[in-house]
């Protein structure tokens, strides 16, 4: 029997680091969120879940949560559909595939802060006579105020995010498509299946794990979205999301308890679907 403790010893610095910096600090954050430490000097006393319930009375919190939901839905669905579609167009092999892939994927290599500079410009809210940027390219009835639209501005904010991430989803789906054994498709065709039936019953089930992975990745990016919003619109309330609200609470209102409460909500919203996914993944790993 091989001795196992040298292995543990080698990994132990990382275990300690993760234990302290991930789990320890998460716990610490929850602790701060449960105090009344609303300035940077006072010690803060335990107040239970008061901050967690109290925040719902603030109008801004409601707005930022609604914004996060709109953004998440538009972004996740948009990136998933566009990424799938691009992969679908390429899956049977097409001349210049490498080039196409490289172009769709390259936004991933660039930061939201950099691309936000130009997106802010393109999504100019002027319409009609004063239309510039993207509105200039659109017919009058399609022009809108983009992220300055009071109702659905967050849907516009999802556009740069979809642009940035759909290439990634494409790569995932392409790998999924290529994982379908060609013999399987062929034998279904021989059995008289139409191309659509082949797709529906053979290919689609193969894409399920990839779709799930893409959902998880897009979802967790979406719920903590920060850079993009900072770059495109800064701290304006019209595009407020929890991460911006938290930044504000820490740096402008100097209210650690409030910032920690918002942060805790962001963590909880991500955990709700990431934790089951990780457990499922771990089980699958064991199964093999």
């Amino acid at each position: 029997m091989r001795r196992w403790w040298p292995g543990l010893l080698l990994v132990s610095p990382s275990i300690v680091a993760i234990a302290v910096f991930v789990y320890g600090l998460l716990g610490w954050n929850f602790k701060v969120a449960m105090t009344d430490q609303h300035d940077e000097i006072s010690q803060g006393h335990f107040v239970g879940l008061e901050n967690f319930t109290g925040i719902w009375d603030q109008e801004r919190w409601g707005i930022s949560v609604r914004h996060a939901v709109v953004f998440t839905v538009v972004f996740v669905v948009g990136a998933l559909v566009l990424g799938w579609f691009l992969a679908f167009l390429m899956e049977k092999g097409i001349r210049g595939e490498g080039g196409f892939r490289a172009i769709y994927l390259f936004p991933m290599a660039v930061s939201f802060i950099a691309t936000g500079v130009v997106w802010r410009w393109l999504m100019n809210s002027g319409t009609g006579e004063r239309a510039v940027g993207l509105n200039r390219l659109l017919p009058d009835f399609l022009q809108w105020h983009w992220f300055r639209d009071p109702g659905w501005g967050m849907a516009a904010m999802a556009v740069p995010a979809i642009w940035q991430m759909s290439g990634y989803v494409m790569a995932l789906f392409l790998a999924g498509f290529r994982g379908v054994p060609e013999e399987l498709r062929e034998s279904a065709r021989v059995d008289g299946c139409t191309e659509w039936q082949v797709y529906r019953h053979i290919v689609l089930p193969y894409l399920r794990p990839v779709t799930l992975a893409a959902l998880i990745i897009l979802g967790h990016i979406s719920l903590k979205v920060f850079d993009l919003i900072v770059a495109v619109s800064g701290k304006q309330i019209i595009t407020d999301v929890p991460a911006i609200f938290m930044w504000n609470a820490v740096f402008d209102s100097h209210d650690p308890a409030k910032g920690a409460t918002i942060a805790a909500y962001i963590v909880i919203s991500v955990c709700v679907f990431v934790v089951p996914y990780l457990i499922w993944n771990a089980r699958r790993r064991d199964g093999r």
Binding site: R2, W4, W5, G7, L8, L10, V11, S14, I15, I18, L26, W28, V32, L86, L89, I94, A102, I103, Y104, L105, F106, M108, A109, V110, S111, I113, A114, T115, V117, W121, L122, V132, G133, W163, G167, A171, L172, A175, A213, A214, I217, H220, L223, F226, D227, V230, A231, A243, W247, V250, A260, A263, A264, I266, V267, V270, V274, L278, I279, N281
Partner: protein, 291 residues
């Protein structure tokens, strides 16, 4: 002879119609793909042409026009403004990605080939660290950095990135090392080599690709990071992203300079992507927990 022709015709008809349909299908797909290429390149086009415009032409109303007068003036000014940030980013991203790679290799090796009781649990707990929204640790992290005396500077920022990069780096190396045949390691063990000896002489020599993937991945995330930088650094240590955001947020900075600065800030990672895209891709796929 006549029968031959008829036979050929009968045979040829369905083939050509099928082939035509395949050709049309391919044409449609190619057209759509090209259309998306144009859509994807719109922001890049605007960034590029605006960065070469003189002040008088750099306004949103002329976003789509090519510069009437090409000038690199905006680039010169943007470089001057951004240079300290670029230096800070290099000081951040180079050591950060190298340290991350070393830690990732050690962890990945143990978790794939030198497992201890509870290794799977440790791995899963690590993976959660990949998904944790960093906002959730930021407020106490700032406090901890202050207590450790590394708040505000680049070493503190490197520390944060290295620690929160452990999960993804471990994952990439582990998935890579799983593919090394156990027999190879067994053989080395029979020869009397211990854990570190095996790592050094058997595993590391074949680890090149994994190192490339991890270093590129970490370099890109460190270079592009904004959240940690904005919470953890003081003005003298601001990396490129924070400086760029300040340049872009200032009403007084002309658009041509903002755009030139945005391109400058993205050049290193874009070059890496163009030259080493293959490895970049693998890092991306690893993020999806494949393998």
């Amino acid at each position: 002879m006549a029968a031959d022709v008829i036979l050929k015709a009968r045979h040829a008809a369905p083939v050509t119609s099928e082939r035509r349909r395949a050709l049309v299908g391919r044409g449609v797909r190619l057209t759509l793909l090209l259309l998306f290429v144009v859509l994807f390149l719109i922001p890049i086009y605007v960034l590029l042409v605006t960065s070469f415009k003189p002040l008088s032409e750099a306004d949103p109303g002329q976003a789509w026009n090519l510069p009437q007068q090409w000038t690199t003036e905006a680039w010169r000014v943007a470089w001057e403004k951004l240079e300290p940030g670029l230096v800070n980013s290099v000081l951040l991203a180079v050591p950060g990605s190298l340290i991350s790679a070393v830690l990732g290799a050690l962890n990945g090796y143990v978790l794939a080939k030198w497992r201890f009781p509870g290794a799977d649990l440790v791995f899963t707990l690590f993976l959660f660290g990949m998904f944790v929204p960093y906002q959730g640790v930021m407020i106490p992290l700032v406090q901890l950095m202050v207590n450790l005396g590394v708040y505000g500077g680049i070493p503190g920022l490197v520390l944060a990135h290295v620690v929160y990069g452990i999960p993804i780096c471990t994952l990439i190396f582990r998935n890579y090392y799983v593919t090394i045949p156990d027999e190879l390691l067994e053989a080395s063990r029979v020869d009397g080599a211990g854990m570190l000896r095996t790592l050094w002489s058997i595993v590391l020599p074949v680890s090149g690709p994994a190192f490339a993937v991890v270093i590129i991945w970490q370099f890109t995330s460190l270079w592009n990071d904004f959240l940690f930088a904005v919470f953890l650094t003081a003005p003298t240590s601001w990396p490129t992203t924070v400086m760029l955001n300040n340049i872009a947020g200032a009403q007084t900075v002309p658009y041509s300079q903002q755009m030139a600065a945005a391109i400058l800030a993205s050049l290193p990672t874009m070059l890496i992507y163009i030259l080493l895209g293959r490895f970049f891709m693998r890092g991306l796929m690893a993020g999806a927990l494949k393998g």
